[in-house]
């Protein structure tokens, strides 16, 4: 029993419900509340790491909390092992900086904005910590319905269209997950992850296949993998840049967590192998990578280009995870970390740059490099990371992915990885060149702040720089991250550890 786990969910939840009341009295009080809760939530995450440091280093880290003191398999169990800790740390770290970025970036309706942001935070921690399959479904829906208003946050036509699409796809994905939950409950009479994992092999092959297919469909629709990617580029580009960073960088990774947890720990990887689904997932994910890169190449809008690049990288992560060797899992998790850092920093820098341009198109970016030298250098550096150039984290993760593909004989995967890097080089260099183009007859007011809101620039640029520096520093010292990742892989590969952890004692 560990009370900190429930606090990780409750603190953002309570903050979200307090903000409207505080907002009535004064703006300043709301700001203090937001800053306080953000720091509190972040420090709870740090506290979990520090207080359990010895068990983290010797791979025996496991925390759990029984909600309402119901002993599993009856009640809802919250649990945290190395895999959850990895994702929870990523969420806390990026959300801390995204909230601070928003303080300078969002100039209107801030009260509503932070309510939704904290609800998303609570939902993400809920997904990462929960040990109950229906609870997972509820948190997935909560994450969907709180992120959709933020997609439409600008209240323009584009954002509304994107949010409608996002809601339709997300809800249908949620329905497939719910059908999966129904089938699990009907066949096994339990909702607890560990209990399902224990009894799942006793089912006949047809039910196993049906359950896996429904959960896969649900997760892939919500994630935006190739045949269901139609909502993604719009939703990830129509919102304010801070939310783009959140959607494209963090929320997508939470779905990766759900995918790993369900198909390695709960249902077991054997089920994918028995039914041949792993081959199908592998092919679909690689097609998703190729399509993402091609569509990014076709795109003339910088934010949509970044969104398509997310589809491509997502496909690569899934393809490499589904190989299921130790090296492949390591590569997948490392790319989760690297893509999160790079995409968030790309969107934060782009968000700043786009304040000075008349639009999001390629031509609109002309000459921004001369106006915002430092921030555009940051953009260039991180774009280099996305391509896979050495000092950045992107190099390390792409190198591991390449190694994993070659070692396990999936040569097509390695060809697509290298080809993807070349594609990425082409579509990033277009924007960088455009940024360095001299303006022939630029009117001086071209660079005035286009939006009526005056942004407090300092915070925005500082956070963007923090992410750019993180990309470089983690890229240089990425070997430090390999230790915790080994622990996470240990959890992924041994479902019995998870079952023991929840049901035993």
């Amino acid at each position: 029993m560990n009370i900190t786990l429930i606090l990780l969910i409750i603190v953002p939840l309570v903050t979200a419900f307090l903000i409207p009341f505080v907002d009535v009295f004064s703006n300043k009080a709301r700001k203090i509340l937001v800053a306080f809760s953000t720091l509190l939530e972040f420090s709870i995450g740090i506290f979990v790491i520090i207080s359990n440091y010895s068990s983290i280093t010797n791979n025996s880290f496991f925390l759990k909390y029984y909600l309402g003191n119901w002993i599993p398999p009856i009640g809802i169990t919250l649990s945290m092992d190395m895999l959850s800790l990895f994702f929870s740390t990523l969420i806390s770290f990026s959300l801390l900086f995204i909230v601070i970025y928003s303080i300078g970036f969002i100039g209107h309706h801030e009260g509503k904005y932070y309510v939704l942001l904290f609800l998303i935070w609570a939902a993400m921690h809920g997904i990462v910590l929960t040990g109950d399959i229906f609870n997972l479904d509820v948190f997935l829906e909560l994450m969907l319905i709180t992120s959709a208003p933020l997609v439409a946050f600008k209240r323009d036509r584009n954002g509304t269209e994107a949010a409608i699409k996002y809601m339709f796809y997300g809800t249908i994905g949620g329905l497939f997950v719910f059908i999966g939950v129904v089938l699990v409950y009907f066949n096994l009479g339990t909702l607890n992850f560990a209990d399902i994992a224990q009894n799942f092999n006793s089912l006949n092959i047809f039910s196993k296949k049906l359950i896996s297919v429904f959960f896969l469909l649900g997760i892939f629709i919500k994630m935006g993998v190739f045949p269901f990617h139609f909502w993604l580029s719009k939703a990830h580009s129509a919102c304010p840049s801070s939310i783009s960073a959140l959607l494209s960088g963090v929320i997508v990774k939470v779905y990766i967590y759900v995918f790993i947890r369900l198909f390695w720990n709960v249902f077991g990887y054997n089920i994918l192998q028995q039914t041949g689904l792993n081959k199908i997932i592998f092919v679909v994910a690689l097609i998703s990578t190729v399509m993402g890169h091609i569509m990014a190449l076709n795109e003339n809008d910088v934010k949509r280009m970044l969104a398509y690049s997310t589809i491509a990288n997502l496909g690569m992560i899934i393809a490499v995870l589904v190989i299921n060797t130790k090296l492949a899992l390591l590569a997948g998790l490392l790319h989760v970390l690297s893509h999160l850092l790079m995409k968030v920093s790309l969107f934060t820098t782009t968000g700043y740059i786009l304040q000075f341009t008349p639009g999001h198109k390629l031509e609109d970016l002309k000459g921004v490099a001369y106006k915002n030298v430092l921030i555009f250098t940051g953009f260039t550096i991180v774009a280099g990371g996305m391509i896979g150039l050495p000092p950045m984290i992107g190099f390390a993760s792409k190198w591991y992915i390449l190694k994993a593909f070659i070692k396990s004989g999936y040569n097509w995967g390695s060809v697509i990885t290298i080809g993807g890097s070349i594609f990425a080089f082409v579509y990033y260099i277009r924007y960088i060149i455009s940024g360095f183009k001299k303006l022939s007859l630029g009117p001086p007011e071209r660079f005035r702040l286009i939006l009526s809101v005056f942004y407090r620039e300092r915070v925005v640029t500082d956070i963007a720089f923090i992410f750019v520096i993180a990309v470089i520093v983690v890229g240089v010292f990425y070997k430090v991250a390999l230790g915790p990742l080994e622990g996470a892989i240990n959890v992924i590969q041994n479902p019995s550890l998870y079952i023991e952890g929840i049901l035993g004692g």
């Binding site: 439409a152 209240r155 509304t160 269209e161 409608i164 809800t171 329905l175 129904v182 993604l232």
Partner: protein, 112 residues
């Protein structure tokens, strides 16, 4: 057996509405039909034909229906209601910009 059949028919009916109908509100109705079909299916699937699960201390567990599906479906209904409410709000918002509820003006559902 009949409940599985009805579930599949209703689910596909809702899905058909989302794919074919040229009115966003009708598509939301289709979404609701899909949701409703799953709830209906779940409640009939787990029904043992026994007493309603209101425990007053005199029954034993084997005399009662399983209360868990009902709790899950109640949660599901709440989620569905909030989802459709929010979708309808967005459609009103879109109507302000375009004065129509045709999904083609947002590029259809399978076009990015």
């Amino acid at each position: 057996m009949i409940n599985n059949f009805v579930f599949v028919v209703l689910f596909l009916l809702g899905f058909y509405a989302i794919l074919v109908k040229k009115n966003l509100i009708k598509m939301v109705i289709g979404l609701n039909i899909m949701e409703g079909s799953i709830f209906f299916w779940f409640i009939t699937l787990t029904d043992r034909g026994k007493m309603i699960p209101i425990v007053n201390g005199t029954q034993v567990a084997s005399q009662l229906n399983d209360p868990v599906p009902q709790a899950l479906i109640l949660t599901g209904i709440v989620i569905g209601a909030s989802t459709s409410a929010f979708l309808l709000t967005l459609i009103i918002e879109l109507d302000k910009f375009t004065s129509s509820t045709n999904p083609d003006q947002i590029g259809g559902m399978i076009e990015d």
